[in-house]
Symmetry: C2
Subunit: 367 residues, 2 copies
Amino acid sequence: MGMWSLDRVDTPALVVDLDTVERNLHRVHRQAQEAGLALWPHTKTHKAPWLARRQLELGARGLTVAKLGEAEVLRDAGLGPFLVHYPLVGETKARRLADLLATGAQVQVALDSPQAADTVAEGARQAGAEVGVLVEVDTGMHRVGVAPGPQVVELSRYVHRRPGLRFLGLTSYAGHVSAAPDEEGRRQVLRQEREILQRMRHELERQGLTPQVVSVGGTHHAARMEELAGVATHLRPGTYVYNDRTILLAGSCREDDLAASVLVTVVSRHDRWAVVDGGSKAFSSDAHREGGYGLVMGRPKLRLTRLSEEHGILEWEDGAEPPRLGERLRIVPNHICTVVNLFDRAWAVRGEEVERVFAVSARGKSQ
Amino acid sequence: MGMWSLDRVDTPALVVDLDTVERNLHRVHRQAQEAGLALWPHTKTHKAPWLARRQLELGARGLTVAKLGEAEVLRDAGLGPFLVHYPLVGETKARRLADLLATGAQVQVALDSPQAADTVAEGARQAGAEVGVLVEVDTGMHRVGVAPGPQVVELSRYVHRRPGLRFLGLTSYAGHVSAAPDEEGRRQVLRQEREILQRMRHELERQGLTPQVVSVGGTHHAARMEELAGVATHLRPGTYVYNDRTILLAGSCREDDLAASVLVTVVSRHDRWAVVDGGSKAFSSDAHREGGYGLVMGRPKLRLTRLSEEHGILEWEDGAEPPRLGERLRIVPNHICTVVNLFDRAWAVRGEEVERVFAVSARGKSQ
């Protein structure tokens, strides 16, 4: 194959630096192994079977997904087992879970209500299979999860007694860690989560329902594994494969660990601003409390300050070299997960050379 | 074909009410005809060939797109002519424009720099074709567009003299109309735009470069056509086909005109909030200054207050009937254009019956 420079790739385009991805995978997987944590990476970030396979090759025990459609895509690539970390509720979900199980997929599910347990049990019944269940505890994010207290024991017992279900343990996602104002705040969120999970585990043990699994997310956790010691057995980071501006600004990766960016062209130039050909349909509208929508690689004085659908507005500090009309820039977005979900394919590079193109096969699988 | 109720559709799903779409199309197309405005609807909202065809059947003179990839999809469906309302800059764009022209597509382009004119002229040269050009004027949005003044005449003359290009006239998108605080503010934006375009038109006439076309956007304009009289000849509304919460809150449509929504299921229920199975990967993160991410149809006291990737948080006023676990709700998003771009297909309904499913064929065509 000849050399194929990134210069020939049309814009906007999702660009993935392969050397950085490999470094990110090796680092986090090694650290998890050293900490004795079973890694179940969340595949919602990359939505790409070849990366899920690489995660398994590098020691991941299974693959986390949010939606059944994501598991279906990975199953089609011969991958598994899966943790569906999302409450499945209703007949259509029971049917689709049954279809997934019927193809031999090994599936665990996280849930927070008897109704979700009933849905999962119905899917297991239809397929003649058994599904491992993690009971999700609300450790402060106030999204899904049972409030810590007797209800956790009640739901665990409900699951334990339900035919088709196997109670595996507890899970939590303290996603509010990324909203903490500083490093002390972030560590406080993780410690509170640990304290709650420890308490719930003891309570379950007292009731004879010893959890084998205590699972926590995510990339902020992965960067602070020492805070998980003694309680967590499983870890579900997603963003660590690529990282993004939000992860960087929270101190959960270094600038060298940023593996994905959006390649754009400057298409309009004005005295005090320029326009690039990526807007909210390329960067998503995910904001950051520090303002701005991305980090312009190699041009720290340029700021992506405003987005409309297909336009991104770049502004610059006095004295900065302004972008030139036609110039191509790589911009690391605030939140890579929603950005990846906008692109059908990604351009995988080493340096400035394209090594290959890969499909974001589970893009849009929101069901 | 049997009856197929929306109850059987898995969630989250994009739902389009066909009767409302037809009403929206008929109303705006009739008003444009009465006002003597040539309609070139912006297809970025629906990204669906069958809807573009319907717009042409109902009198549209051509189809506006932001990106060449969108035109390619519509061309493949046998549709056209096109206005690419986006500055094309660089070799890859010239090549792709040439490929589009070579298949017989009639293409006009809006642009705001000599470099973009050179790109378009190069594409025309490669295809042996001619491209009509609208010079874009910045009428206050400060995104793309030449600042009103002598540069508008200069660029128009540059286009006029360039082989392969035909100078057609002026264009503007006063998108900041949606940021105006009230109706008086919105009308002021439109009047300022009209005043600037009138001035530029007179200036061009004085120089012997009479514009045949003066084109303006969008759905807020379409709802106030009386403000365009005497200057605009062409109108490019996009969102009017579906409308959304932003259009509604700006008084640019009525609640009865909301044609698209996201069908979701309540998957987790708590004392003071509930969780639906659509987050920023279903609603986009496009915010509204009044807060909230959507309008829950038939349940005005429920508010979609927070989004994470796959979770939407519903809260409610005291005394409101809270959503039930497993309940299915239809939620009209803040901004339908970015939402449509997240879904591969839409479920077209009459009432609660699914009439058909259609592909969002130009989804993700951001190049």
